[in-house]
């Protein structure tokens, strides 16, 4: 039984899609955060530019890292709640609800 699930195309698909989205989103998050640090280290002039009154470019970028990180978790949940859970449910059904 286990062998049959493990070798079924549906199950392989589930594993592959979950791994792919996890890796893509993780790499994005790493890129955003360590990009921010590199910018802090080497892009001070850019960050210190004024955009409006006393507000510097650095402010929306710093807040942006926080907001963007949250949005990424939202994207993952939206994807998983919809497409992932559906596929999981169908594989579970095939198993006859074990």
């Amino acid at each position: 039984m286990k062998e049959r699930i493990l070798n079924s195309p549906e199950f392989r698909m589930i594993v592959r899609s979950k791994n792919a989205i996890s890796i893509i989103l993780t790499v994005l998050e790493l890129f955003i955060f360590f990009g921010f640090i590199i910018l802090l280290a080497y892009g001070k002039e850019f960050l210190n530019q004024k955009i409006y009154g006393p507000i510097t470019v650095g402010i929306p970028i710093g807040i942006g890292v926080i907001v963007l990180s949250w949005i990424l978790t939202g994207i993952y949940v939206a994807w998983a709640n919809k497409s992932y859970d559906e596929k999981v449910a169908s594989v579970r059904e095939k198993l006859g609800g074990e």
Partner: protein, 513 residues
């Protein structure tokens, strides 16, 4: 000019404090009747919803240090405070994408369950529990010392008494109410903290006509444009990256955070809880940033640093300036609740490492019934709680700031790599895991002792032996390299076979507890 009731036990602060204590003790009484089995003691009977757990995770994570400390840092240094907030937030997406669901599906009560799932139980459990316990203890000492000093600063209560009160309450919550009481203490604290910070920001914005430009201008006119520019924090980029690694992957290796994922019924609720937690924590850090600027504009650097050099009283001083003694009393009680909730979560995580992993997993070889395990967990709670009080008093007046950094470095280097590799890598072996955990642990500890933070600042040597303040960039990478090399040298056929069947449980949750 400097008229403040900070440092005196005001009537409002005492009333709010007793309301919180009475409320939480009532919850503990209610929870005690529902805390008999191990699943109830360690995991609140898996009855917590994703939203509730999101609040509780936020409650576990938002310590008094991140509230008072970061608000103070922003008030005194401006933009640099925001950099810290960002560092503390970015671990959460990693928890979500790599850890949360698999942890929920594969484990039972502790993250060591997952590492040990297909490897040799006893050896793995002692190694993983060691990592967990050291992380928890360091974090706990830092929290207790912080609690003693903060409560002394706010209420004028003697340090030792403050530590004993915090310790006694935390023991009561965990010992009698287990995870259910601890969770609700976290939820109440999170709501109070988010609510209190929101009101404070609202009061600031009223002063500035809801105009952030006005708020920022007031601060830059007073203290210069450097307040809105990155300052001294990022001197050495390698050191900042190292700190970033510790904060990011440390979040994903904190035992008390990981343990919370077992309180929800399934992987779907686990993932929802991370989304809510990230939202609450991110929102809170954005509020803290505003509070810091509000304090700089309306209270001023001079008074803030006069009361506490580190700026820890910036938020309370601002609360008093804007909302009077009553609001200060409320916020002081919230800070107290914040400390209590964090130490309760830590104590429970530490106790579960001792009872579930070491006592039942290693000493009893997995053969203990429910009753014995719950009793062991309660004894462990009591011992750990008393130890926390004693250590809190022993470390009075010591510089313990490095301990939180070290706890994060160990979590990132000893706990996280082994956990991640056991989840995603088929060829990971028992020896690989053990070597990885001890390498991460030993390197974190040794390098931090040789670093400027301890070798120069505390031991007063002229030159550091290890140049970076945070060891994570070395210890984190070494833990992975050692784990991979040792695994490749010691193949474990049984573990590889189990990996395939583990996939069914880990990806679709069949067989999950």
């Amino acid at each position: 000019m400097l008229e403040t009731t900070i440092g005196q036990p005001t009537l409002t602060a005492i009333i709010f404090f007793f309301l919180f204590v009475a409320g939480t003790l009532y919850i503990t009484y209610w929870a005690a009747k529902r805390t008999r089995t191990t699943a109830e003691f360690y995991a609140a009977g898996r009855s917590i919803t994703g939203f509730q757990n999101g609040l509780a995770l936020a409650g576990d994570y938002m310590s008094a240090a991140s509230f008072l400390g970061i608000a103070g840092l922003v008030a005194l240094k401006g933009y640099d405070g925001l950099i810290y907030s960002v560092g503390f937030l970015v671990g959460w997406p990693i928890v979500m994408f790599l850890i949360a669901e698999q942890l929920r599906n594969l484990g039972k009560y502790t993250f060591a369950d997952v590492v040990a799932y297909r490897l040799k139980q006893r050896q793995i459990r002692s190694a993983a529990a060691t990592g967990a316990l050291i992380t928890v203890l360091l974090y706990l000492i830092a929290q207790m010392v912080g609690a003693g000093s903060l409560i002394k600063l706010m209420f004028g209560l003697p340090y030792e008494i403050a530590v004993i009160v915090v310790g006694a309450l935390m023991i009561a919550y965990v010992l009698f109410g287990g995870m259910l009481a601890t969770t609700w203490v976290q939820i109440i604290k999170a709501v109070l903290l988010l609510g209190g910070a929101t009101i404070l920001v609202f009061l600031i914005l009223i002063k500035f006509g809801f105009n952030y430009v006005d708020l920022f201008s007031t601060v830059t006119n007073k203290y210069g444009e450097k307040m809105l520019e990155p300052g001294g924090l990022v001197k050495n980029p390698i050191d900042t990256i190292s700190l970033g690694i510790a904060l990011m992957f440390g979040t994903a290796g904190l035992p008390h955070i990981l343990m919370r994922f077992y309180t929800v019924p399934d992987a779907k609720e686990a993932r929802k809880s991370v989304f809510y937690a990230t939202g609450f924590i991110g929102y809170f850090y954005i509020l803290t940033f505003t509070i810091g600027f509000g304090a700089a504009a309306l209270v001023g650097h001079e008074i803030i640093s006069k009361i506490d050099k580190g700026g820890n009283m910036a938020a309370p001083l601002l609360a008093e300036a804007l909302g009077g003694e009553i609001f200060l009393g409320f916020l002081a009680a919230v800070a107290f609740a914040t400390i209590l909730a964090v130490v309760a979560g830590l104590t429970l995580a530490g106790a579960s490492a001792v009872s579930h992993d070491i006592y039942v997993g290693v000493i009893r070889r997995g053969k203990a019934d429910e009753k014995q395990e719950v009793r062991a967990a309660k004894i462990a709670t009591l011992i750990l709680g008393v130890l926390a009080i004693l250590l809190g008093i022993a470390f009075k007046g010591q510089n313990v700031a490095f301990m939180v950094g070290l706890a994060f470095a160990i979590a990132a280097s000893a706990n996280f790599p082994a956990l991640l590799m056991s989840i995603i890598w088929k060829k990971f072996t028992t020896q690989g895991a053990i070597w990885s955990i001890y390498t991460g642990l030993a390197l974190s500890v040794i390098l931090i002792i040789l670093s400027p933070t301890v070798w120069v600042d505390i031991l007063k040597n002229p030159q550091p032996i290890f140049p970076l303040k945070s060891p994570a960039i070395v210890s984190f990478i070494a833990a992975f390299v050692v784990g991979i090399v040792v695994s490749l040298l010691t193949r474990e056929k049984e573990a590889e076979e189990k990996f395939e069947s583990e996939k069914i449980r880990s990806y679709i949750g069949i067989g999950a507890e």
